[in-house]
Symmetry: C2
Subunit: 374 residues, 2 copies
């Protein structure tokens, strides 16, 4: 085992419009943490590369109030945050043994970390053991809060839902509902080839929806047809507005947006009256937080068509996570849903460079940095 | 009675960013309509001056789909639309007598019009007789779909509501709710001195809320304290952002927005997590439909704080109107709510000039053009 620990620290408030991880973070050497009774030492073996690492930084004069929903912001001179799977290197707990794989859902960007086996040092409880039959990639895609579980919970959000909860309209309408054929709903998903989109497409397809995705390239758009999508638009080379008019002349009923700005505007233009938009992310504006913002110009349609737009943040849905895990695990086991990931081999000290290289948008599914071979 | 009829017709698609009524509409002379059996002839005596007259124009390449919610767009070379009260000048119906006052909720901008007493020529049914004890000004403020009834229904929209419907959480929570003291909600209303705002302030106050308004001038802001508002901000001379921080350090729970763009952005910045925004109007962008749009830049907070933003259009709530009228009439009778209007004397042929003069934002409450003395 290494004699010392390392961590990526948030050292510079981003001032450019598209800051690089290499400019914001700095690698620091730290003493190895001490493993006390009832604790385990974990070494990260696979790290999720996601905009999260940049979005959740504390930026002066930009209070998003997300802390109140359970998300802790990274302060200057604190380690960055990430989702990861690690391996138990030392155990002073009866609950974990050497070599166990554990999920660290929202954790410090340190190579080694210690965790109490009673979970009292984390709002997520003790590190979750990864089941033997679940691959590390699958854990960090379909079964991770930032990907598959977000897709699952956002689809069950009032603004992401394609069907009302059972018996919400009373016993009679519940009874009627069992025998009534419901009209097919049309769903639009942006960043369809991303960590959330690749799972969301499959989940909506299972609900009987017509699912349309938006992604960067035609190559990725074609791949999406294997992930629940009926059709996909390559926005970099195709006119999203024209394509939507052709692909969904009936209009969009539910829109799961991960991108914001232009794509949110164009999607909204094609919404049906009384339609619903669930905003899961604002990837296109993530780096501009506090700087110049394009905004949601399509909001004029929100009033004119009585749309409902709901924000979704998975940290506000911790109570729903156990059911989401059970449902997703069942669908994975039965083959009803499959994970999508791009795994890059690398090292812990190469993290920032890898992040910047992987953020070009050329990858498919969740982006994972594998440290196991380094 | 006049030998001929007159009407204001939509003749030019607006191309400037702030078009004047005089540029878009033209006064035309028409033959007097023929009164057939079962019909009445009505002469307008008071017309509502509202942005509606401009918003609801058919503009090429700008499909708002509002028609599907029941609102009929005005085509080029059709008469404009307005809300008005008129007087029955000729009656071939047993249901109406000469001199009856009738409400025409969304009607052609003609001096004289004929209406069937069975209502088969209007989506709003037959002209509604104004009760003897209701003044014309009160009918067109508190009891009109575009003002008081919009305020009432928007407050009962899921995104405008400050309390959940009785028993929505089941019998036990309903029982508990009867005995539980609920924390006070803070409500923000923009265009507080407008037709909707002057009523909405009083309605939210009756629900026990702390109500904060935004209007143009300090003079109007002071007047608002007589219309349910606990405090009001004069945005033209005061910093809305700073004022909100001082007046509502606890944060905003419900935001009824009639203005859009900057005021919507600033209000959203002060929203509490899981807060709700009901968009009733976009007055600041109304004249820019299809042109340059500022947009909703505060939508980044919608995701970060899990806000829900709902559009409201009264034409989608026709079923709720009878209950709204009953409730509002009761509150008016008991003095619990009072109407606010600015009445200007004028003539039918002076309509466009009066509209342009009255749109400066210097008036308080609903703007009414009285033709009775012309």
């Amino acid at each position: 085992m290494a004699a010392e620990n390392r961590g990526w620290f948030y050292v510079k408030v981003p001032d450019a419009s598209e800051p690089r991880a290499q400019d914001i973070y700095e690698l620091r050497v730290l003493p190895m943490p001490v493993v006390e009774e009832g604790m385990i030492l974990v070494k990260k073996t696979m790290i999720v590369v996601a905009p999260m690492a940049r979005t959740y930084l504390e930026i002066p004069n930009f209070d998003t109030k997300t802390e109140k929903l359970g998300l802790k912001k990274t302060q200057l001179n604190q380690p960055g945050k990430c989702e990861s799977v690690g391996i138990v290197m030392e155990s002073k707990s009866k609950k974990y043994k050497l070599g166990d794989r554990v999920l660290l859902p929202f954790n410090d960007l340190l190579e080694y970390s210690v965790h109490r086996d009673d979970g009292k040092d984390s709002e997520f409880g003790p590190p979750l053991k990864v089941f033997d039959f679940v691959r590390t990639e699958t854990q960090l895609t379909a079964l991770s809060p930032g990907a598959g579980l977000t897709a699952y919970c956002a689809m069950n959000h009032p603004c992401g839902r394609v069907e009302e909860p059972l018996c919400s309209g009373g016993l009679l309408s519940c009874f009627k509902g069992l025998f009534q054929k419901k009209p097919q709903k049309t769903v639009l998903i942006t960043s369809a080839a991303g960590a959330v989109g690749t799972i969301a497409g499959q989940l909506y397809k299972r609900k009987g929806c017509k699912v349309i995705g938006v992604t960067g390239t035609r190559e990725k758009a074609d791949q999406l047809l294997n992930f629940g999508y009926d059709a996909a638009i390559a926005y970099k080379t195709e006119d999203m507005d024209q394509q939507l008019a052709q692909l969904a002349p009936e209009g969009i009923d539910v829109f799961m947006d991960n991108v914001g700005s232009h794509q949110l505007d164009i999607g909204t233009k094609h919404m049906n009256v009384s339609g619903k938009v669930v905003i899961v992310g604002c990837m296109s504006e993530v780096d501009r937080f506090g700087h110049e913002v394009h905004g949601y110009k399509g909001y004029l349609h929100v009033a004119a068509r009585e749309l409902t737009v709901g924000g979704f943040l998975v940290y506000n849905h911790v109570k729903e996570i156990p059911l989401a895990i059970m449902s997703m695990a069942w669908m994975l086991q039965s083959g009803a849903v499959k994970p999508a990931a791009t795994v890059v081999e690398g090292s812990f000290e190469g993290w920032a460079k890898t992040v910047d290289a992987m953020m070009s948008g050329a990858t498919f599914g969740r982006l994972l940095l594998n440290l196991a071979k380094s």
